[in-house]
Symmetry: C2
Subunit: 348 residues, 2 copies
């Protein structure tokens, strides 16, 4: 691999995603992405005694299914890259504890899917190993009680708040194969803090980080926006997405317009499901990427996308101490398999 | 780089640690390592309004000093790998938020120094970048109130409990230089859970993970114990260290005997400082590695060491839910600079 410009990594061998899976909870199963997911759990507890254990089970289920779709077992994996929103990333450590693979815990809040995916690509191309998994999850009930209020309290949330997705996604990253989608480039983001302190408006806090990473990518590579079917952000939701478009246009003269999609906007029916500003959580972009987008890339219905997952890096403690919200966005460029012809750029 | 055996990564180019620094709090400054540290803060608040902010300041101070010793500034850094024990790794995200570097948040609990150092070596040798920082911290006051009791409560702790170190360490990892210590090999550990549930006896929970990683390394590489001046574990403390030796002897026929040192045993005076089973926390192994050990490698007083940092991957929530403690150990082989002749293996 080599570096282009200030921050972009070019994967010369283009590691492939040879398996991908996403599993979600009941509310997500009622959303517009319903038919895309590998499994919808009607019971958000997954039969576990606590929601934290349910979240770990979600992660394990996503990994198991992704491996199966790759035609592999855990024994084939050299590394697992995983992280989540829970204190001490416990959904991941407990979800993955029965595996025998080298485990690298990561923390990127809701940017984790892009962080783990890009890291897996670096390790694969570097020769450190030949097969890795990138895994993450979130759960509405664990996030709500950890970050906000006890579930029983039934607190009102402002319209700017997003709903944490109950879901997990897993990608298996391997040496290049012509019949699988590939990872072409990546940008590991920098921390951006524009002074927003409202933890009920995280899309707004994260939008400048996404804008910075996207702008860095286009400046580094000289790519044209029209090279991509879509710029897919993680979970900016309705408010953050608007802000992102405005920031890119105003500060960087990039008009992403109709090429922009946001997993936080896509995963729920806005009106019917009463989710306010959209979905959020590591599981949001993880479940949508590992179903809707990777499936379309595999079929050649899309040629190339930029997947830009965003994370708000605060904790309840830092918010209570009056801190603002540092944010980050990691980017991965994904491409359809060589062997699949493209049905045409949907936006062209 | 290439892989040897099941889990060991060989860094063919042997990236160097071109700068290292450690900064600690007042109690650590009264310990036997006092003269080794770059800075001892008499005031553990570092003048900040909260202990969480103090911990972030510790991390920033360690990074600044390591960069200065490397003769570099933040602008030279391609990546920062950082993590800590606080919920949502906030000591790192807030400590590093003013930097402009690509930021990769990692979670390995007290194994973080080895996790970030090994990751930085992979990224450097891979060509993803040419200079990275590996940074971590812990703070007695943030850990105590997050994991155990309010500080004012003054709870009694059992003799098996370890004291969280107030300290931070940073290493600057760059392309190989003949005048700096080098990173030769690494093992990213697997999660090991032997069913220990007592969060006041973490050394015991972590010892099997350390034993597994060390045994994997010797099996993979065929190295001889006598190739190393020391096997340095992170923070097993007095109880965990004993267990490690027993496990390695019994299960793997490896007698590490007098070649074993543990940062958790080294950082405090056991009797005089009333620290029970020794030191712990990400800052324990980070501060001792980035002072005592790297300084001795630099001078050739040691030739080669294995640095094996261990982490207990539980959270207060998982412990309250009756879960046992999954643990992990990551290993890095470090070598003196090419240009420095060795004063002889202290143990030979």
């Amino acid at each position: 691999m080599h570096r282009q410009g200030k921050r972009t990594i070019i994967f010369d061998s283009a590691p492939s995603i040879t398996g991908n899976a996403s599993v979600v909870g009941s509310v997500e199963g009622e959303g517009p992405m319903c038919a895309e997911f590998d499994r919808v759990f009607d019971d958000d507890t997954l039969g576990e005694e606590s929601y934290e254990k349910s979240e770990s089970a979600l992660q394990k289920e996503a990994l198991t299914r992704a491996l199966k779709k790759a035609g592999k077992t855990e024994e084939s994996l050299d590394f697992i890259f995983a992280g989540d929103l829970l204190n001490q990333c416990s959904a991941s450590t407990f979800g993955m504890r029965d595996t025998e693979c080298s485990f690298l815990g990561m923390f990127g809040a809701c940017s984790t899917m892009a962080l783990t995916l890009a890291s897996a690509a670096v390790f694969t191309e570097s020769g450190a190993g030949i097969m890795s998994a990138a895994v993450t999850s979130s759960h509405f009930c664990t996030a709500e009680r950890q970050f906000r209020m006890p579930l029983e309290y039934g607190g009102q949330r402002p319209q700017s708040a997003q709903r944490t997705v109950t879901g997990a996604g897993a990608s298996i990253v391997s040496l290049h194969r012509s019949d699988c989608p590939s990872i072409e480039k990546a940008v590991f983001g920098r921390i951006v803090d524009m002074g927003i302190a409202d933890a009920n408006n995280m899309g707004a806090a994260m939008a400048p980080a996404a804008a910075g990473t996207i702008a860095d990518f286009f400046e580094d590579t000289g790519c044209d926006l029209r090279d991509f079917d879509y710029i897919v952000t993680g979970d900016l939701g309705f408010i953050g997405s608007e802000l992102l478009r405005e920031l890119l246009l105003k500060d960087y003269s990039l008009d992403i317009g109709s090429r922009h999609l946001d997993c936080g906007k896509m995963i729920f029916h806005r009106e019917r499901q009463d989710v306010h500003a959209g979905g959020s959580g590591c599981g949001c972009s993880a479940s949508v990427l590992n179903s809707y987008f990777l499936n379309r890339l595999k079929k050649g219905e899309m040629e190339k996308i930029l997947f830009v997952a965003t994370g708000a890096l605060m904790s309840p403690t830092t918010s209570l101490q009056g801190e603002t919200i540092p944010s980050i966005a990691h980017l991965v460029e994904l491409r359809r398999p060589d062997s699949v012809r493209t049905g045409g750029n949907n936006n062209a």
